[in-house]
C-alpha cells in the first residue's frame, strides 16, 4: 500500500484497516419476552417470543447481538409461528442485547486514545468504542435431521469466552425445520459458559394432521458468530 493503515493477524487476515469500518457497539439494553402460544399446538419447550422494540430497533447496516447465559438458546423466526408474530424465540424470559454499527456511522471519538480515519475523515476504528470480534463459528448441514426432541451435534460445538450471538441472515439459528405436526427450531445454544453449539429443538407439536401442512427444509446452514466484546 502507498499510504494508510492495515493491521494483520498471524493468518494474514486483516484486523483493522482504514478503508472498512469495524462494527462497534452503539447501544445496549434488555428485551423482555412474551410467553408464546400457537393455536392448535402445544408447547414442547417453554418458549418466549421477542420483537425488536425501543433501542433494539435496527436501522441501516446495524447488527444486534444477544447475550445468552449458560443453558440458554436463541432461534430466529422466519415467519409467524405464534399467535403474535415475533422475530426471535428463546427459553429465556429476558435477553440482553448489544447493537453494533459500522464505526463511520457513529460520532467521531473525542478525548484520549487512538483512532483510524479514512481519506474522507470518517472514523474506521477507535480505541474508545467496543469492537465486535469473531471468536468462532459453526455450521449445521442441511442433510442433518433431528431424531429426538433435542439433538446436540458435537461436531458443531466450540469453545468461546462468553459474549453474544449475531442475528440475521445465515448468521443465526433459525426456525426452519418442519415435519408433520411438529415445529423444529434451528437454534444457537450456550451449553455452558464456555461451550456453544448449533442444534435443533422441537418447539411445538400437534397430533392432528389437519393443523399443519409440512413444508420442506430449505435452509442449508445455521452459522454462529460470537464476539468477545460484550
Amino acid at each position: 500500500m502507498a499510504y494508510g493503515f492495515i493491521s494483520y493477524n498471524s493468518d494474514d487476515e486483516v484486523v483493522i484497516n482504514d478503508t472498512q469500518p469495524t462494527y462497534t457497539r452503539a447501544r445496549t439494553g434488555t428485551l423482555s419476552g412474551s410467553s408464546m402460544t400457537f393455536s392448535g399446538f402445544s408447547n414442547n419447550l417453554s418458549t418466549y417470543g421477542y420483537s425488536l422494540s425501543g433501542n433494539a430497533v435496527l436501522s441501516g447496516d446495524e447488527l444486534i447481538l444477544f447475550e445468552l447465559g449458560s443453558g440458554d438458546w436463541l432461534c430466529g423466526c422466519d415467519f409467524p409461528l405464534s399467535d403474535t408474530p415475533v422475530n426471535f424465540i428463546s427459553n429465556s424470559s429476558t435477553l440482553g442485547y448489544s447493537v453494533f454499527a459500522p464505526r463511520d456511522t457513529l460520532a467521531s471519538p473525542t478525548g484520549y486514545g487512538m483512532a483510524i480515519f479514512n481519506g474522507s475523515g470518517d472514523c474506521m476504528w477507535d480505541s474508545t468504542t467496543l469492537l465486535s470480534r469473531v471468536e468462532n463459528s459453526a455450521v449445521l448441514p442441511e442433510s442433518t435431521f433431528p431424531s429426538g426432541p433435542t439433538v446436540g451435534y458435537t461436531s458443531s460445538q466450540f469453545s468461546f469466552n462468553g459474549g453474544a450471538f449475531a442475528e440475521g441472515g445465515a448468521l443465526y439459528g433459525r426456525f426452519n425445520v418442519a415435519e408433520a405436526y411438529t415445529f423444529w427450531g434451528h437454534v444457537i445454544e450456550a451449553v455452558s459458559s464456555t461451550q456453544a453449539r448449533v442444534t435443533y429443538k422441537k418447539l411445538f407439536e400437534n397430533g392432528d394432521s389437519s393443523k399443519f401442512n409440512p413444508v420442506s427444509f430449505r435452509y442449508p446452514i445455521a452459522m454462529t458468530y460470537l464476539t468477545g466484546s460484550t
Binding site: N9, E13, S132, V134, Y219
Partner: protein
C-alpha cells in the same frame, strides 16, 4: 507481548495475532420475488452474507457464486412462494 499491536478488550489486552474483527463491506436493498445483484469484490471465503428481512417473511431462496460475484434469489419456484421475502437488505461482512 514482544512486538506487534494490542487492543484493550473486555478480556484485557489482546494482541492481533489471532484476532478476527467484523468489518462492513457493503450493502444493497432489494425488492422483488427474484433477481440478481453483483457483489463486486466480495469474497465469501473471507466474510458472510447477512440478509435483513424487511417484510416479515422468510429469508429468500438465494445463492451466491463466488467466482462470478453474482448473488441471485428466486422465490417463484417454491409452492409457498408468497411466504418468502421480496423486500430485504443484503449486508456484507468481512472478517478475514
Amino acid at each position: 507481548m514482544s512486538y506487534g499491536f494490542e487492543l484493550l478488550t473486555t478480556e484485557g489486552y489482546v494482541d492481533v495475532t489471532g484476532m478476527r474483527t467484523v468489518r462492513f463491506f457493503g450493502s444493497y436493498d432489494k425488492t422483488g420475488s427474484s433477481g440478481t445483484q453483483t457483489l463486486s469484490g466480495f469474497d465469501s471465503n473471507k466474510g458472510t452474507i447477512f440478509i435483513r428481512i424487511k417484510d416479515g417473511k422468510r429469508v429468500p431462496i438465494f445463492d451466491y457464486n463466488n467466482s462470478t460475484k453474482v448473488f441471485s434469489w428466486d422465490n417463484t419456484g417454491a409452492s409457498d412462494s408468497s411466504n418468502y421475502s421480496s423486500n430485504f437488505r443484503i449486508i456484507l461482512l468481512e472478517n478475514a
